[in-house]
């Protein structure tokens, strides 16, 4: 299995989820994160003190899938999350050796 980690723009979350559902993906986990990258942040001013907000709000989507579906999932996320603007984010794939569904104790592919 593979863990696909996508760091995307927050307002693209619904699109990504819908695209993954269309693919038959049944579960995923989302975290609010802050990203630092090529995309510039903005400046906030409080009584004359300027603060550069370099970290931009992003959303990290994690989805574990059978290895043979990973490529398709990556492509799907990439298509759904793309605006073509800087800051669209990244997708990373890392191996997962073992998976368990807590409720039933099913393991690996059955657990997803």
């Amino acid at each position: 299995m593979k863990l696909v980690i996508a760091v995307i723009k927050p307002f693209k979350l619904e699109d990504v989820r819908d695209a993954l559902m269309a693919l038959g993906i049944q579960g995923l986990t989302v975290t609010e994160v802050k990203g630092y990258g090529r995309q510039k942040g903005h400046t906030e001013i409080y009584r004359g003190a300027e603060y550069a907000v370099n970290f931009l709000p992003k959303v990290r989507v994690e989805v574990v899938v059978p290895s043979d579906r990973a490529a398709k999932v990556v492509d799907t996320i990439a298509a759904a999350a793309k605006t073509g603007q800087i800051g669209d984010g990244k997708i990373f794939v890392t191996p997962i050796e073992h998976a368990v569904r807590i409720r039933t104790g099913e393991t690996d592919a059955n657990a997803l």
Partner: protein, 441 residues
């Protein structure tokens, strides 16, 4: 009867009255209490308390980081509860009861002798219990204001001790000099609701305190931006509304002196907000919410000493100038002088208090403070009385000098006794957890 009470209402604080009072006994008994005046000043007392609890607590909470948020609210709360008790034990008596040109007496120690019938000659139309309570709310907010300068680094125990000492050593004497029959009032200083007593006083004390404590860790390098500015919007709103009681109540009665003071106060606040917003929009491209709030407070603080002496169009000028100059003080000046006044108590209240006290000497309209005892009232420079501006300047200087020196001494004593500042580790963890064992989630 109505006429008398109306004129009393219109009278308010004037130099002439205060000079006259110094000779007469300060406490009297008699059926002079007026129902309408009592109704309004009771309301005003509630409004001024609302300025601190929760107004100022919210304004300050809205400007700090999450980990210090409860602590600064706690300091405002502690100021309120502590000053209230000390005021009734001795503060009121030392400020407003008898005494000479330097300090009052202890005739009302623990409010001994105060009854349902007693009045203070400074406001013989009100029950004495009301007069004492109304004046108490001014002492509370002045002490609480200082907490803003040292936010995020002062020990809670140190602030509590500081509040107690500073009340008696700084606030009480200055309030007596200006309002309680002391020398500044006798010399004719015009300060309707606290340009010297409240705003310069708090601002200068804040400046001294932040210099003595030193800057916050990370000041100038780390991101110290506010956690939840919406709290500051609520706080400023309540301060604004409460200020109707602050300035309008200082007429000590229900009548046109009070309502005119409220009108100019409101215009001062509005123009202060507009002034700061315009300055910021012009120089930085965006009008920030905190800027608008700051301008409103600057306008309110600045109009305070003038509020019983000027007309609406004066308020437009005073407020607008306040907004722009305080913007400059909180940005350019503060960065140039490199002090870390966390929440800009000096830049807003100190600077605003000075502008307002001087502006009173310029714009004062005699007719607004005229009374049978003083038919010409107290005119200012624009009405040809240049001496008034000089008196105002003296008042400013006296307040600054006494406040700066005495505040410094008080801080050093507190430092010796309990230590002023938390440890760097505690500052990093946040005052909420280290001082109070609590935290926002």
């Amino acid at each position: 009867m109505k006429t008398a009470s109306a004129s009393r209402r219109i009278l308010g604080w004037t130099a002439a009255t205060l000079a006259g009072l110094a000779a007469s006994p300060a406490l009297a008994q008699g059926p002079t209490i007026d129902g309408a005046d009592t109704a309004w000043i009771t309301t005003a007392t509630a409004l001024v308390l609302l300025m601190t609890l929760p107004g100022l607590a919210l304004l300050y909470a809205g400007m700090v980081r999450k980990k210090h948020l409860l602590a600064v609210m706690a300091q405002c709360f502690a100021a309120a509860m502590l000053v209230s008790v000390l005021w009734m034990i001795a503060g009121y008596s030392l400020t407003f009861v008898g005494g000479g040109s330097v300090i009052g007496s202890l005739d009302r120690f623990f409010l001994a002798g105060m009854s349902l019938e007693s009045v203070n000659d400074l406001a013989a139309n009100l029950p004495e219990s009301l007069f004492a309570a109304f004046q108490m709310t001014f002492a509370i907010i002045t002490v609480a204001l200082v907490a803003g300068s040292v936010a995020d680094r002062m020990r809670f125990s140190a602030f509590v001790l500081f509040a107690a000492l500073w009340l008696f050593i700084v606030y009480v004497p200055i309030a007596h000099w200006v309002w309680g029959g002391g020398f500044l009032g006798e010399w004719g200083l015009l300060d309707f609701a606290g340009g010297t007593v409240v705003h310069i006083n708090a601002g200068v004390a804040g400046l001294v305190a932040c210099l003595v404590l030193g800057a916050r860790h990370g000041y100038g390098s780390e991101n110290l931006s506010p956690f939840d500015l919406s709290l500051a919007v609520i706080g400023t709103s309540l301060l604004w509304v409460g200020w109707f009681g602050f300035n309008g109540g200082s007429a000590l009665g229900a009548g046109s002196r009070a309502t005119m003071a409220i009108l100019v106060t409101h215009l001062g606040a509005s123009m202060g907000a507009i002034g700061w917003m315009a300055a910021e929009w012009w120089t930085r491209g965006k009008p920030s919410v905190l800027g608008i709030l700051s301008g409103a407070i600057a306008g309110l603080g600045t109009i305070t000493p003038a509020s019983g002496f000027v007309l609406p169009w004066h308020a437009l000028i005073i407020g607008g100038v306040a907004g722009i100059v305080c913007f400059w003080a909180c940005t350019w000046l503060k960065q140039r002088l490199r002090y870390d006044d966390s929440l800009d108590v000096f830049g807003i209240h100190g600077v605003g208090g000075v502008i307002g006290t001087l502006a009173t000497g310029v714009f004062a309209v005699g007719a607004l403070s005229a009374s049978p005892a003083n038919p010409t009232g107290s005119p200012g420079l624009l009405e040809g009385n240049a001496a008034q501006l000089q008196t105002q300047a003296i008042g400013v200087v006296v307040t600054i000098v006494w406040c700066a020196v005495a505040t410094f001494v008080v801080l050093k004593v507190v430092d010796l006794l309990v230590g002023l500042r938390v440890s760097p580790e505690a500052e990093r963890m946040g005052l909420d957890v280290t001082q109070h064992g609590e935290a926002l989630q």
